[in-house]
């Protein structure tokens, strides 16, 4: 093993959102270079937001990302609402939680079935699976469509939702649409069971690296839309000190910022949430975790995909609960009015890929003076590189193609969303 030479560069890694490269350079068994390079073009949203009005901020910042635009919309609205002390009703809160479930299910299903499953089933993409595993593909499409329809019914559309505005909703779903969703979510339970059964037969790489896990947390629910910052190493942290958590720094080989807190890196996303908040999961989601061998705390980053499936189960069940309440009491057309004023507000939510912060400072005229957005994928970049550094020495005796495949799968397990972090991914064997 000490004599191994290996050089490769995976340029524009496929089946990830955005553009990034993996570079590995090993001489006589010694790692000379091992990098996860994000090469997306810088987009400069923090500059774009400056000078824009309180009712434009979420419209602009949700366009950071097409996959998680509901998360960006809500983080942005929560920052604006915190800055201007704008109250929201219980109904608005529940509707936002419902559309969150839609986005979480859609993003996880897309990732697990379309981007990761081809690796596990030995195919280069989902397209050949249409022939070989037609039932699986149809099931994934059905779940994705349901999730998409949740977002459409609540938000008007999923990519850059329309109805969510500071203080409430521009329009409300119809009862018949809610009834349709309720029915299809009930039917989705069978798909959940089938998903768990399928994944239980697939083998994920066995790799362990303990690290710090960061997410939000609520005392009485599995936190996604709101909560306080929580670290597996250090416990709770007040939101206004979030910059002490993220400590963003720039590395020369990447257009995305990196982050660290108590260790050289930390992990965010589904696995971090499930590790930190397992007790708050619904019983059906815990059952899925048990069936899939996910015991918390879990230190295998590849299990992030399993944690995503566990969360899908949680979201489906929780969405049913919310719908039952709406169908029972009906939705009210609520009047609300925003009085713009100066102030600073921080909005924190769990996007599908992890904890997301929007931090805005408004002037007296209700226009943005300063904005800062800390994106989940950026917080994971350093963790991906730390995993690389731990994993490569363990597998250097394997053929180069297997090493490359393992590193690609590891990056995909994190489900990076590089549009968010700036926008790109490639793997390079130099």
């Amino acid at each position: 093993m000490s004599e191994v030479d290996m050089h490769f560069e995976v340029e524009h890694l496929t089946r990830v959102e955005g553009h990034g490269n993996i570079v590995l350079d090993v001489e006589k068994g010694e790692i000379k270079k091992l990098q996860w390079q994000v090469i997306e073009a810088p987009r400069l949203f923090e500059a774009m937001l400056r000078g824009h009005r309180w009712d434009e901020a979420h419209h602009i910042s949700c366009r950071i990302c097409g996959i998680c635009s509901v998360s960006h919309t809500c983080a942005s609205l929560r920052a604006t609402e915190a800055a201007m002390n704008i109250p929201i009703s219980e109904q608005t809160l529940k509707l936002r939680k419902l559309i969150f479930h839609g986005e979480m299910i859609q993003s996880h299903v897309l990732h697990v079935f379309l981007l990761v499953a081809p690796d596990l089933l030995g195919a280069p993409s989902v397209f050949p699976l249409i022939q070989t595993h037609k039932d699986v593909v149809l099931m994934a499409m059905r779940m994705k469509k349901l999730a998409n329809d949740i977002s459409r019914v609540v938000g008007g559309r999923h990519v850059h939702p329309i109805t969510l505005i500071p203080g409430g909703f521009a329009s409300l779903p119809k009862r018949s649409e809610l009834e349709d969703l309720r029915e299809r979510l009930e039917a989705c339970k069978a798909d959940l069971t089938a998903t768990v059964d399928l994944l239980a037969t697939l083998k994920l790489p066995d790799f362990v690296r303990e690290t710090e896990y960061i997410s939000i947390r609520m005392p009485d629910e599995f936190a996604m839309y709101e909560g306080s910052v929580y670290s597996s190493d250090a416990g709770p942290m007040p939101l206004d000190r979030y910059r002490e958590v993220t400590n963003e720094f720039v590395v020369p080989h990447s257009t995305a910022k990196h982050a660290k807190w108590h260790r050289s890196s930390y992990m965010v996303g589904a696995l971090a949430r499930v590790n930190n908040n397992y007790q708050m999961l619904r019983p059906e989601a815990k059952a899925a975790a048990e069936a899939l061998g996910l015991k918390t705390p879990c230190y295998n980053p590849f299990m992030n995909n399993i944690a995503q499936v566990v969360e899908v189960a949680h979201c489906v069940l929780d969405a049913i609960d919310i719908l039952d309440k709406f169908l029972d009491k009906g939705l009210d057309r609520e009047a609300f009015k925003v009085e713009p004023r100066a102030g600073r507000g921080i909005g924190v939510v769990e996007a599908p890929r992890g904890i997301l912060f929007h931090d805005y400072e408004y002037g007296d005229d209700g226009r943005i003076v300063k904005a800062n957005c800390v994106i989940p994928t950026n917080q994971n970049h350093e963790s991906i590189e730390d995993d690389f550094r731990a994993l490569v020495p363990q597998i250097l005796d394997q053929p180069q193609d297997d090493v490359r495949q393992a590193l690609e799968m590891l990056v995909r397990a994190y489900d990076p969303c590089i549009s968010c972090s700036t926008h790109y991914l490639d793997v390079n064997f130099v």
Binding site: H12, T14, R15, V16, E17, G18, H19, E40, A41, P42, R43, L44, F45, E46, A47, M48, L49, R50, G51, H52, R53, E56, H59, I60, R63, I64, C65, G66, I67, S69, L114, L115, P118, P124, S125, V126, F127, M141, K145, N148, G156, R157, H158, V159, H160, I162, T163, I165, A170, S171, V250, P252, T255, K257, D365, R367, S419, H423
Partner: protein, 254 residues
């Protein structure tokens, strides 16, 4: 063309959120009909294989840095038909918001002392660099319009982008005018083709498809000011999707 006689189609993305590609995926059943008529040969977000041999290229995103120039040129040289997909590609879109600043200043705002690591220039639409054959506007695109344009491409005929304002579609849908309800709206000056989706949900139009060819800016400015925007804020509203400040193709050629 592939051996089976089907056109070979590729998807590419530059600086953007990739939401327009997602909107294409949302077509679901209609997408399967579309796919049956072509071979998808490059779609990095979904597949590992890729090909440099294609007939139709869909390009999403804005051109924002020197490295983008040879890449878009190669796509133009290879494709018989180049389609700009979504506002970032057709009009520059949200990315052009940074053009209000000197690039050094915008980079400093985001990256501080580390700004020197990164190369960037003023964001611009695809046709500021290479000619574009078809435009599918919107942020994000309207999937129904995508299908219309797709059929036009397959039949080799042009697609005429609507050049009337969103108000026309909004009225056809029987919506109550948002401006009459006191909500500032860009519908009167914005190019239609979106089925007035935002006003139909009670949310103002922000102009994501770009302006009609002869917009009445003064009248729209007055309307917006009547609804509480200052003249500076009116300029801000007009600039969310449309922002000049980048060199055009003819100027670059010189």
């Amino acid at each position: 063309m592939s051996n089976n006689g089907k056109p070979r189609v590729a998807f590419f993305d530059f600086a953007c959120c990739e939401g327009c590609q997602l909107r294409v995926l949302e077509l679901e059943e209609a997408l399967l009909d579309v796919l049956a008529q072509v071979d998808i040969v490059t779609f990095r977000e979904a597949m590992t294989e890729a090909s440099d041999d294609y007939d139709v290229a869909f390009v999403e995103g804005s051109i924002t840095r020197p490295a983008d120039l040879p890449r878009i040129q190669k796509i133009r040289d290879t494709a018989k038909v180049l389609v700009a997909l979504g506002a970032c590609a057709t009009i520059g879109g949200i990315n052009c918001g940074k053009n209000r600043f000197q690039m050094a200043e915008a980079m400093d705002i985001v990256y501080g002392d580390d700004a020197a690591h990164f190369e960037t220039f003023e964001a611009r639409p695809v046709d500021a660099v290479v000619p574009v054959d078809y435009y599918i506007h919107g942020c994000p695109i309207n999937p129904n319009e995508f299908v219309k344009v797709f059929h036009a491409i397959l039949q080799g005929r042009p697609y005429a982008v609507p050049d009337h304002p969103v108000c026309v579609e909004c009225r056809l849908k029987g919506n109550v005018c948002l401006l009459e309800k006191g909500i500032p709206c860009m519908g009167p000056v914005t190019r239609a083709g979106c089925d007035a989706i935002c006003p139909s949900y009670g949310y103002s139009c922000f102009g994501c498809r770009g302006l009609v060819s002869e917009p009445n800016r003064n009248s729209e400015s007055e309307l917006l000011q009547k609804h509480g925007l200052t003249s500076e804020e009116v300029a801000g509203r007009f600039s969310i999707y449309v922002q000049e400040g980048y060199p055009k193709r003819e100027e670059v050629a010189k």
